[in-house]
């Protein structure tokens, strides 16, 4: 797996943050629309909006977990290399 530089990691983290924030904003709008429809007696869209909201949540969580796993792996490789250099 290709390792990111420090600035590359920072950019990737910022991009993840922006995407998750955008997903949250969309989910907020979805929830407001669902509540309004529910009060108006329209129950047809509630299942659909629930599924879409869950997809947004799972996508955001997957993005976060992938990013953190990647960073962890990068740090492990970096600390191993430093350990080898110290021994050498």
């Amino acid at each position: 797996m290709k390792r990111l530089t420090a600035s590359g990691s920072a950019a990737a983290a910022t991009a993840r943050l922006v995407i998750v924030a955008a997903l949250c904003a969309f989910q907020y709008w979805l929830l407001a629309t669902t509540i309004e429809s529910h009060h108006a007696g329209n129950h047809r869209i509630s299942l659909f909006t629930f599924i879409v909201s869950m997809i947004c949540f799972v996508s955001g969580a997957a993005l976060v977990v992938t990013g953190e796993t990647g960073e962890l792996a990068t740090r492990k490789i970096a600390s191993k290399k430093e350990g080898n250099q110290d021994d050498g």
Partner: protein, 177 residues
């Protein structure tokens, strides 16, 4: 881990004892985790609405005597609670003598609505004074202000027997009984 006085230290602070303001700032990682939590909460909110919609539809409504026909002059209105004590409703006797009734809560921000004559003095309308919303008195549909884009006022079905006005149920949001 705690020290002898019971204060909790983070391990890294022992290695870096000189404090900086930036230490107290929230890092991107913590913020994105928080946002993920918020996202989960919003998804749960949608789930609760869906589960609520699975419950059985409203059953029959009780018949409630609101007032006598002679209690209200044409062009006047009164407030009553229907179908339960927590739901204020408005009964209007129009200039023509016809009775109409709606739930009193504005769909915008739940302000109480009231009956009034329109600005030119020729028509009648229901008005919300909080944000200058107007409703059509025939069907409760928003015609001006914020309620234009929202659901209409829910119509209360009425029955007149022996010169008494009774509330007998709620119409669907299309104004149909």
């Amino acid at each position: 881990m705690s020290d002898e006085s019971g204060c909790v230290h983070e391990k890294w602070r022992e290695d870096f004892p000189i404090g900086k303001d930036a230490d107290e700032q929230i890092c991107r990682r913590d913020f994105i985790r928080f946002l993920t939590l918020v996202s989960g909460g919003l998804a749960l909110g949608n789930a609760s609405i869906w589960l609520k919609s699975l419950r059985p539809v409203e059953g029959t409504f009780d018949k409630l005597e609101v007032c006598k026909v002679t209690d209200l002059e044409p062009g006047s209105w009164t407030v009553f609670q229907y179908p339960d004590a927590k739901t204020p409703s408005i009964l209007i006797r129009r200039e023509s003598g016809e009775f109409v009734a709606f739930h009193q809560k504005c769909p915008h921000l739940a302000c109480p609505v009231s009956y009034e004559r329109s600005a030119d003095g020729r028509g009648e309308q229901i008005s919300c004074h909080c944000h200058n919303g107007k409703f059509d008195i025939n069907n409760g549909q928003g015609v001006a202000g914020p309620p234009r884009e929202l659901r209409p006022l829910r119509m209360v079905l009425l029955d007149i027997e022996n010169d008494r006005v009774f509330a007998t149920g709620l119409a669907d949001f299309g104004g149909k009984s």
